[in-house]
C-alpha cells in the first residue's frame, strides 16, 4: 500500500464512521435516520425479532429465514453487573408495539444465562399484552454467542421457534 492509498483508506474509514448512526426505530447500525431493513417496505412489520447486538442481525439475515423487522436491545439483563431493564432498550421496544401493529415478537437473545433471563423477562412483560411471543429453538449450543452460530444451525433454531417460557 502506498502512502496515498493509506491516507485515502483512513479518510474512507473516518467518513463511514461519521455517517454511521443508530437507526431511530430499531437501533441497528445504519447510514441514516432509518436502517436499510426498517426502510425496506417489503419487510413484514408485524413480526419483530429482538436481538442483543447489531451483529446478531447480520447473523440472522445470513439465514435468509426471516422477513420481519428487528429490535436491538443493546445488551442482556445482568443485574449482578448493574444491567437491569432500564439499561437495555425495553421501553423503546414497548413503545414500538402499537404504532407498528406488531403481532409476534421473536426473542432471539443469546443462548446463555443472561440471554435466557432477558427472554423470560420480556415474555412475562409482552404476553399479557396479547402478543404472540416466541423464543428461538434450542439446538444452539448453550453458553455460546449468537453471532458465532453458523447460518444452518441458526436458521433451524429460528424455524423451530416455540412459545417463550416465562
Amino acid at each position: 500500500m502506498t502512502k496515498e492509498d493509506a491516507v485515502r483508506l483512513a479518510r474512507a474509514i473516518v467518513e463511514v464512521k461519521e455517517r454511521t448512526v443508530l437507526c431511530s426505530v430499531c437501533f441497528n447500525i445504519g447510514m441514516g435516520e432509518r436502517c436499510a431493513i426498517c426502510a425496506d417496505e417489503r419487510r413484514d412489520g408485524s413480526v419483530v425479532c429482538v436481538v442483543e447486538d447489531p451483529r446478531d442481525i447480520v447473523a440472522v439475515e445470513r439465514t435468509r429465514e426471516f422477513r420481519g423487522r428487528y429490535h436491538v436491545l443493546g445488551g442482556a439483563l445482568s443485574p449482578i453487573d448493574g444491567i437491569g431493564p432500564e439499561q437495555i432498550r425495553v421501553r423503546e421496544l414497548l413503545a414500538r408495539l402499537e404504532p407498528e401493529h406488531v403481532a409476534e415478537v421473536i426473542l432471539c437473545t443469546n443462548p446463555n444465562l443472561e440471554g435466557e433471563a432477558t427472554a423470560m423477562y420480556l415474555a412475562r412483560l409482552l404476553k399479557p399484552l396479547g402478543l404472540h411471543v416466541t423464543r428461538i429453538a434450542s439446538g444452539l449450543p448453550v453458553g455460546g454467542d449468537l453471532e458465532y452460530a453458523d447460518e444452518l444451525t441458526l436458521g433451524r433454531a429460528l424455524e423451530g421457534r416455540r412459545e417463550a417460557a416465562t
Binding site: L77, S78, P79, I80, D81, G82, G84, P85, E86, V90, R91, L94, N112, L113, E114, E116, A117, M120, Y121, R124, L125, P128, L140, P141, V142, G143, G144, D145, L146, Y148, A149, D150, T153, A165, T166
Partner: protein
Amino acid sequence: MTLYRDEGVVLRTVRLGEADRIVTLATPGHGKVRAVAKGVRRTKSRIGARLEPLSHVTMLCWHGRELDVVTQSEVLGSPKSLRGDLDRLVPAMTMLEIVDQVAVERQPMPELFAMLVGALRTLATSESRLVLAGFCWKLLSVEGVAPVVAACARCGGPDPLVAFDPGEGGMLCRACRRGQAVAAETVDLVRRIVGGDLRRVLEEGPHDADSEVERLALLAVERHLERRLRTTRHLLEAGTAGV
C-alpha cells in the same frame, strides 16, 4: 506458575476480547477466583456451556498474578429447571450476587460454598418460596451476624415480638418496636430457619408469611452488605409491576 484443582460455582462472566471470557467463581478451597477461559464464546466451544453462571464445575487452573487461567473444566451440575423458569432463576441469581459480595479472593470458604450448592439444588426442585430467604438467614449466621430472634433484640424481653429492625439486629418487642411490623408467623418461621429447621419449613408448603419472611431476609442481607441487591430490585417484581 502453579496448577491447582478445585470445585466452583460460576458467579459471573464478562467478555474478554474476541472470544474469551473472564469467569468469576466461588470455590471452597480458594475463595473467589477470577480466571480467563479461552475461546468460550464460540458456539462450538465445549468449555463454554460449562462456565456459565450457576454451573457447578470442577476445574484445573493455572495460578496467575492478576488472573488465573482455566485449562480444564467438567460440569458437576447445571440445573436446567433454574434456567427455564424466571421464578427460580431470579432467586438463584440473587444468591450468586450475594456470594459475589461476601466471598474474598484466595480465602477458603467451604461452609459458604456448601450452602450455595445446596441452596441451588433445593431451588431447582422445591416448590417453596423460602429457599432464597433460608439461604439469606443462614448466610448471616455463617457471617457471624445471626439475627436475634429468641428474645427482643433490644431489651431481651419475651414474646410477643412484633417488629424487625435490621439495624437493631433482630426482632423487637412491643415496647421497643421500630422498623418493620411483622406477623407472629413470621417470627416463628425465622426462628425455625435460623434454628436449623429449614428443611421441614421448605417441605410444609406455602405459609401466609412467606413473602414477609423473604422481604425481611433480603433487608437484613442488604444491611449486612451495606448495599442494595440489584437482582431482586431489578427483576423480582418483573411482570407484576412491569417496567
